[in-house]
Amino acid sequence: MSSSVIIKNAVKKYGKFKAVDHIDLSIHQGEFFTLLGPSGCGKTTLLRMIAGFNAIDEGEIYFGEVRINNVDAHKRDIGMVFQNYAIFPHLTVEENVAYGLKAKKVPREQIRTRVKEALEQVQIGQLRTRKPSELSGGQQQRVALARAFVIEPKILLMDEPLSNLDAKLRVQMRTVIKKLQRRLGITTIYVTHDQEEALAISDRIAVMKDGKIMQIGSPEEVYKKPQNTFIAGFIGVSNFMECNITKTDKHHDISIGGEYSIPVPISEDYIGKGIISARPEQMSFGKEGIPGRIMLSTFLGDFVEYEVLLSTGQTVQINEYTKDESLVKQDGTLVCITLDADRICVYDFEKEEVIL
């Protein structure tokens, strides 16, 4: 697969602060790639470096074979969708979408057909003579999308495009964007702080923190095998528990609270303190295990969420699907918790990096 965007050792500094700190990335042709991270992690800064709105202080960015460090923003041939849409308020929907084509001096006849097609792609053909002030948030979002892809850019950038929409519309628009991207096959770099959105929409995700990339992988990979405790905590819900790792001849054992111990296939020679992370749905109730008491049960329809106080003094969250268990356990019930060695992650206590 050929690479569409290659970022080598990119750095962006504000004074001494490194907003983007030596980032390397390679984004494939036609891929839907997401930069995910909490606010201030440098994801938008990196996106704006690609767009040409932030200077690249160190390192290099290539579009295919072409180094674009010194290419002006207006010559990069990128489509971009902005967080607050940035619709030109004095132009109609049609004129907004035609703006980039006019700048490229596309013949008038062709502009008309392309604008019409683009508006139909995002299902707002009937709104073409409206002014932006007469549009809802979702409709403005569609105009912004049409305006960005109608110029047939090599790359499409999206900076938190859904963050100003209400929850329901956000889910709806995210499907619109995903389908459109598939249909056009355009390389897309998407920025969001919403982990659920990132999981839903992306081919691959780069999780960022403090200007650095923590992990790159498919949604499934970053969810199931978070490389460190930050990612485990940031994506989805994780229960963290301290454990003790010991080694026998053949395998490692991890024990929690001195009462419960399971064998795990850790490859490294690590022994000592570790951190276990387990998803609420990866823990289950059993006959043996870590003893605990149910403090609060919350019935949520398709599953029940239990807050369990363990004998170690720690509180964990456990989800149980209602189709598996018919009865909701009452608050105060004494239970035992078991872990599945194949599904949990174990981290080095000091570096908080994955060892299992």
Partner: protein, 549 residues
């Protein structure tokens, strides 16, 4: 958007703007500062001029007088302006919309017209004075400090009114509802919530009053008579030293500027740190009162506004009175207008030509400066932001002298030309356009420009095609204010005009000095009508989104 290191379009724009401001603002004012330390006797730099100022009662008393008059006017405008703002924002005052426009109108008209009108009414031969003299009552004299304070108060209370009512409308209803819910009655709510929250705005308005009255030349000159304040002294010293040097006048100028600058900085220091102004999701409701109560709510508002607008009415009425060389002779005629058309046509033409040229330059510079201040928050932006505040604290007379001092010898010999008049207009009135333009731009999402660049339009083209186009309402409203103040400009023009470059404002001043009240009224009416039309245009294009202050 960070500007790249390589010299781009904005790099050259910044150089151009800084060069212009350096030439017409920094250089003249530095020359003035230099002059103020220059001793005429020894020909060396010394503190002699300053020592002379603080030793001689004749000089230093003018400083006290200036501070007294400005301070009293400031207190009076607060006492009038704040209750006005309260009544206008909280009650259904009758004819509210029109009253609001009239209040702005009285602020926009030149102060010396106020002075002139009060002389026409309450002066020695004034209509009211004679009426009371006829029934045996002698009114106190209007000349001197009383007159100055009267004119300032009714001319400048709109500053306090506008700042305060703007702030009162921005208090969210929930704030007072919360206080009410916690058991506060109406008076207590006003004293403990509403007033403290709008306090910074009241202070800002009061400081504007103080600085404007400290800088005004026309009013004390006309109605002050034996009561010289600083700007008058600057003028007298300068005029009496004509042909010689302007050293002492420069010293006085520096002292005036120091005063207004200190007040401005004090206000910034104490007030800006407490800015509670918010955007009200739900602005406060106006209370609907009926019948007699509504009448009593409207009466004081109407009374104050009425007094404020009297000068304009007096001016227009007297301009149609029949006159000869002895003064008004009863009956109405157009002879004042005939006289000015024959004798002062040049002044009228100059006013409009100079102001139009100045406005074109102001709009051009204003758009660029606002853009750099708001979008390029670098060093140049910060410098421009400070420089643009400077004309607010430099009185017109002082700017006039600075320009003369700076441009009275080759290669930059500009004194007596139209260019120097226009330069003074531009420097003095540019801030209105910049403030309005940058306030407007601040509300505009920067990603709109980025979207355009991203779609393949270069930054320079984006600026002219998109940004400038979108900034137009803000810049144009500011430009109307610049225009109104240009045509009414007296204090710098009176220093700078030459035989062929006199304006209407200057002519009004000289006509009043010559007791030619009829022609002065006709000229003043032209200004008043132009101001009124321009102001209505402003209110129409700004749609209430851009404030006049």
């Amino acid at each position: 958007m960070k500007s790249p290191i390589k010299p781009d379009f904005w790099f050259w724009v910044k150089i151009l703007l800084v060069a212009i401001l350096a030439l017409f603002l920094i250089y003249p004012f530095s020359s003035l500062l230099y002059r103020s330390f220059f001793s005429a006797k020894t020909g060396q730099l010394s503190l002699a001029n300053y020592i002379r100022f603080f030793e001689k009662p004749y000089y230093y008393r003018t400083l006290f007088r200036s501070l007294f008059v400005s301070g009293t006017a400031m207190a009076a405008t607060v006492l009038i302006g704040v209750p006005m703002a309260y009544l206008m924002t909280r009650y259904n005052v009758m004819g509210k919309k029109y009253i609001h426009i009239l209040i702005i109108m009285s602020l926009m008209s030149p102060p010396f017209i106020g002075a002139y009108s009060w002389i026409m009414l309450l002066g020695r031969a004034g209509a009211v004075t004679r009426f009371f003299a006829g029934i045996g009552i002698t009114l106190p004299t209007i000349y001197g400090k009383l007159g100055i304070i009267l004119v300032f108060t009714f001319k400048l209370f709109p500053y306090v009114y506008l700042y305060t009512s703007g702030a009162m409308l921005s208090i969210d209803r929930s704030l007072e509802e919360a206080a009410e819910n916690l058991g506060s009655n109406k008076l207590r709510r006003l004293l403990t919530i509403s007033l403290p929250v709008v306090m910074p705005s009241i202070a800002a308005g009061a400081v504007m009053v103080f600085m404007t009255s400290l800088a005004d030349f026309g009013t004390p000159m006309l109605i002050g008579e034996g009561y010289p304040v600083l700007p008058v002294l600057v003028y007298n010293e300068y005029m009496s030293e004509m042909g010689g040097n302007a050293n002492l006048a420069s010293t006085l100028s520096v002292i005036v500027v120091t005063c207004s600058m200190s007040v401005l900085l004090l206000q910034k220091y104490f007030v800006s740190r407490k800015n509670y102004v918010m955007t009200a999701m739900r602005p406060p409701l106006e209370e609907k009162v009926h019948g007699l109560k509504r009448f009593f709510v409207t009466l004081p508002v109407l009374l104050v506004t009425g007094i404020g607008i009297i000068p304009q009415i007096v001016v227009v009425v007297t301009s149609f009175m029949k006159t000869d060389f002895t003064g008004f002779i009863g009956g109405f005629s157009l002879n004042s207008y005939e006289i000015i058309a024959n004798r002062l046509g040049t002044n009228i033409r100059n006013t409009y030509v100079f102001s139009t040229i100045a406005i074109l330059i102001i709009v051009f510079l204003g758009i660029l400066i606002s853009y750099i201040i708001v979008r390029h928050r670098g060093k140049t932006g910060a410098i421009l932001d400070i420089l643009i505040m400077f004309p607010y604290v430099i009185p017109g007379a002082v700017l006039g002298i600075s320009l003369i001092v700076a441009f009275n010898k080759p290669p930059l010999l500009l004194t007596g030309t139209a260019a120097i008049m226009i330069a003074a207009f531009v420097v003095r009135k540019l801030p209105y356009t910049v403030r309005s333009g940058s306030a407007f731009l601040q509300q505009m999402d920067p990603s709109i420009e980025e979207a355009s660049i991203n779609l393949g339009v270069s930054p320079m083209k984006t600026f002219f095609r998109l940004t400038a186009r979108l900034m137009a309402p803000g810049v144009m409203s500011g430009a109307v204010l610049s225009w109104i103040t240009c045509i009414n400009e007296l204090s710098s023009s009176v220093m700078l005009y030459g035989g062929k470059t006199s304006t209407i404002a200057v002519a009004i001043y000289t006509e009043i000095v010559r007791n030619s009240y009829g022609t002065a009224a006709a000229l003043a009416s032209i200004l008043t009508i132009t101001t009124a039309i321009s102001l209505l245009t402003f209110l129409k294009i700004s749609k209430g989104k851009v404030s006049v202050i």
